[in-house]
């Protein structure tokens, strides 16, 4: 099993600050939010984390160090590879201060490389970048790319513009040039520099954001990347969409497939149905796979019509409260989908950077 979304928690901020120049550390210590990272105006009413996980005694968090993740997410869930993803630091690219963002992104990437990767050969990681400053983001990709344990560049769902906008092209090109995927993880909509989620203004409650706010940003990035012809400009680009749901995909892509024919004078470079582009370049992390109230067969049929199982890669979202436990998810899938979704699709998607040990 390959888990494409294993979140690392910043249980001890000083462990990241040690990778930042001493002259800068007090700035991060003195911000209202953790390390100056833009954060949620809504809070989960109970807990962000699975309540059955062991926690760090000082911070009360699970997943705050490599031994915890090896125990819980690799050994505990049976992962052959776990791809580490930022959690709060997903919002680094939305900090108003691009210089502090660049320093913090560098530190977070160094932290993964120095304090996490060496603990287990099954660990891989995601590069976070100060995407509010494109040259700095590209420089950070160039700096990190030689370490092949980094398998992807991680961007937040919340953004200043959808990622097909030409300003982001150098970031996407740099990732593709190094054989890195680009992962877009829902979240941070409405925070820092990001626009509000939903397109209808800020939601009031966490449940509103969690149900649709995060899905809307993923839809917008998907639509934007395809419509701009991004994959014609960067033919080697691979994009993983994480935690935006997938049950909505058939409706959206069928609508897009219909519209591109009639609206093509504005986007005449679109030379194939959007679904065909999606199948070649885009994958969806499975969590949170929608609960269907007994209609799973209908979900499989709809997803098959838009390229499943080939477009799906398993993700647990460890250690969050809404994660999908791998055995539970695998047993829910149609039998013929299990191997590709849990393992093979990710191997093909990430390529040699995954260099995955034989399946256990």
């Amino acid at each position: 099993m390959i888990d494409c979304d294993v979140h690392v928690q910043i249980a001890h901020p000083e462990e990241i600050l040690k990778f930042i120049d001493p002259a800068e550390r007090d700035w991060y210590r003195s911000q209202a939010y953790l390390l100056g990272l833009p954060s949620y105006p809504w809070s989960n009413p109970s807990t962000w984390f699975r309540a059955d996980l062991p926690v760090d005694p000082d911070s009360g968090m699970p997943g705050g160090d490599a031994p915890s993740i090896i125990r819980d997410a690799l050994d505990g869930q049976g992962a052959d590879v776990g791809i580490l993803t930022a959690d709060d630091a997903l919002s680094v690219g939305l900090m108003e201060n691009a210089y502090r963002a660049a320093a913090l992104a560098r530190a977070h990437n160094d932290w993964l490389r120095e304090d996490w990767f060496p603990h287990d050969e099954r660990l891989r990681g995601s590069i976070i970048v100060p995407v509010q400053d494109i040259p700095a983001a590209v420089a950070e990709i160039e700096r990190c790319a030689p370490d092949r344990r980094f398998v992807q560049v991680l961007l937040a769902g919340g953004s200043e513009r959808p990622y097909g906008d030409p300003r982001y092209l150098p970031v996407l090109e740099a990732a593709a040039a190094h054989g890195l995927a680009v992962a877009i993880h829902s979240g941070m909509e409405g925070m820092g520099l990001a626009h509000q989620p939903s397109g209808a203004g800020a939601p009031t409650f966490y449940i509103e954001w969690h149900t649709i706010g995060s899905a809307c940003s993923i839809m917008a990035h998907l639509m934007s990347l395809i419509t701009h012809g991004t994959f014609r400009r960067v033919p080697d680009l691979k994009v993983l969409l994480i935690e935006g749901g997938i049950g909505w995909l058939p409706g959206m892509i069928w609508r897009h497939d219909t519209n591109w024919r009639g609206l093509r004078d504005d986007t005449p470079w679109m030379d194939e149905p959007p679904l065909e582009t999606l199948k070649r370049h885009i994958r969806f992390a499975t969590q949170p796979l929608e609960h269907t109230d007994g209609h799973d067969e209908l979900l499989w049929e709809m997803l098959a019509a838009v390229g499943a199982p080939d477009i799906l890669c398993y993700s647990s979202d460890y250690p969050h409260w809404d994660g999908d436990e791998p055995k539970w998810l695998e047993n829910r899938l149609p039998e013929a989908w299990r191997r590709p979704v849990m393992h093979d699709n990710a191997v093909a998607f990430y390529g040699s950077r995954l260099d995955v040990p034989a399946a256990r």
Binding site: G229, R261, R264, W269, P273
Partner: protein, 118 residues
Amino acid sequence: MSDWHDVGAEADITPGAPAIARIGGREVGVMRDPRTGGLVAIRNRCPHSGARLCLGTIEQRIEGEPGGRYALVDRTVVVCPWHGWEFDAATGVCPEDEAYRVAVYPVRVEGGRVLVEA
């Protein structure tokens, strides 16, 4: 076996004012290309959702490259009045999906009358 059918006076057909005739149980429209002045005879039913195709427009095709580059190309299309789908005026094929195609017919003018072979 196809025959030539008189569908109307050439002078009456202008851009936006096609001739419409029923030939062998099918409706055929003859449209005037505003750019070339030529005539296009096409089955008057969009294969997508059934609109009367000849109430649309005849346009020069636009092609493009990612990065916002646009170019008019040497290809004429009939544009459906409902959803804007395009059909090649010479072949009737939808360039976006060749599974969608509409019949086009030879057309000529004789003595001021428009004749369609169908």
